[in-house]
């Protein structure tokens, strides 16, 4: 079994959202890769998408004549509205986020710590221009905050780390991390692999060191799928 593609990761997230929220859920998908999750949610999932710029029941990306410059998502991409959609202003949009009214939020990340700290807004490089947008509000707002990312960076270093070295977006806010090589629970009891994809367990443990990887909760590994 091979490593997961972006679409495979998005499908896994969509599968878990629907399995763990059988009656539907209010979900915010962060800009970039997490938006792919929407493509994998069944039409009858009951999932209602929130976009931070002020809309619930956001539909798929708009094409051709459906493009309306007044109807965009958080990534400023033209989108559509679904039946039951609602529009609201920014203070309301972030009140529903900060107030814990959203069930799941999926974000991208530079790093996630074993304890669930998130770093995804600023590389800390001296010439980088800081831009946070809604990331800090999203990180601490939704009931469950999940991350979608590659497990290793371009230099091969694990992005799941004992302690984040990039500037933090939120503290102890992440519950689960979905990657190309597996799914991990993070939090007070450290990192537990839930699923491992396309990599030998011993290799994974070695490449993620010095992070301590707990294997007591692995439900799917290697080629058993």
């Amino acid at each position: 079994m091979s490593a997961r593609t972006k679409d495979d990761i998005a499908a896994a997230i969509a599968r878990d959202i629907t399995a763990e929220h059988p009656d539907g859920a209010y979900v915010n998908l962060g800009i970039g890769q997490p938006t792919l999750v929407a493509d994998h949610l069944p039409h009858d999932s009951g999932v209602v998408l929130h976009t931070e710029n002020g809309m619930l029941a956001m539909g798929p990306a708009a094409h051709g004549d459906d493009i309306d410059p007044d109807l965009i998502n958080a990534g400023k991409i033209p989108v559509t509205e679904l039946p039951g959609a609602a529009y609201f202003h920014q203070a309301d949009s972030f009140a529903m986020m900060r107030g814990g009214h959203l069930d799941v939020c999926v974000l991208g990340a530079f790093q996630v710590s074993a304890g669930g700290d998130l770093a995804n807004w600023h590389t800390g490089a001296p010439d980088a221009i800081p831009a946070v947008g809604g990331a800090m509000d999203l990180a601490i707002g939704a009931k469950r905050v999940w991350v979608m990312m590659t497990l290793f960076d371009k230099q091969g270093a694990s992005k799941l780390v004992p302690t984040c070295t990039y500037p933090l977006t939120g503290v102890g806010c992440i519950e689960r991390v979905y990657t190309d090589l597996g799914t991990f629970a993070v939090g007070p009891s450290g990192v537990h692999a839930l699923e491992i994809n396309g990599i030998d367990i011993d290799d994974l443990v070695e490449r993620m060191a010095p992070l301590e990887l707990h294997l007591d909760r692995v439900v799917r590994a290697g080629g058993d799928r």
């Binding site: 976009t51 931070e52 710029n53 002020g54 809309m55 309306d68 410059p69 007044d70 109807l71 965009i72 998502n73 400023k76 509205e81 529009y87 609201f88 202003h89 920014q90 203070a91 949009s93 972030f94 009140a95 986020m97 900060r98 700290d117 600023h122 010439d127 221009i129 800081p130 831009a131 946070v132 947008g133 809604g134 990331a135 800090m136 509000d137 601490i140 707002g141 500037p167 933090l168 977006t169 939120g170 503290v171």
Partner: protein, 230 residues
Amino acid sequence: MTARICTGTGGTGYDEAVAGTADGSTVLVGGFGMAGMPVELVDALIRQGAGDLTIVSNNAGNGDTGLAALLATGRVRRIVCSFPRQADSWVFDDLYRSGRIELEVVPQGNLAERLRAAGAGIGAFYSPTAVGTPLAEGKEVREIDGRTYLLEYPIHGDLALIKAHTADRMGNLVYRKTARNFGPVMATAARTVAVQVDRVVDTGTLDPESVVTPGVYVDRIVPATQEAAA
């Protein structure tokens, strides 16, 4: 009470709407990207010539028009925003990297709530956003019922420039789709509120149940065309 419908005495309606803006003003500019961006009002502010401005807006300009064009004039001393860096924010990027503009980065929800607080007469509030991050630096920290919060202060504007879809002559506003974004909160948070709209309708035409911004907040309205003011 009616809002002033600006149809352009000595210039365009947009010029009339921003007349009298003083140097050193804090100007709230609506929009999320280009959705809800009051481009014509910002262009009028450029012509009006006020300088030493503080701009409060979600982004720091896109491309070379609107807010980006205002920044390019060098008349903005400081910008308060959540997401300055974008693929097409080259005007801001250049000013920032050469030290010609001050930047205060505010998480988007705190930006909205600080504007809301200003409009609602709230002296300050505790927010859980940004706790434990670099943006918490210098802020008062308080634990309430086991959760940690930061003290956040309101952001008041001297002038707000926003875009709505329809206004009536009392200044009641209806927005369109996600172009609503910062309009309603900014409309409450500034001493003078100028709104550009696609059309102005007679008082009594808008469904009172659907009014988003009540006219009490709105001072000046510019319809997109003369016909639209009818």
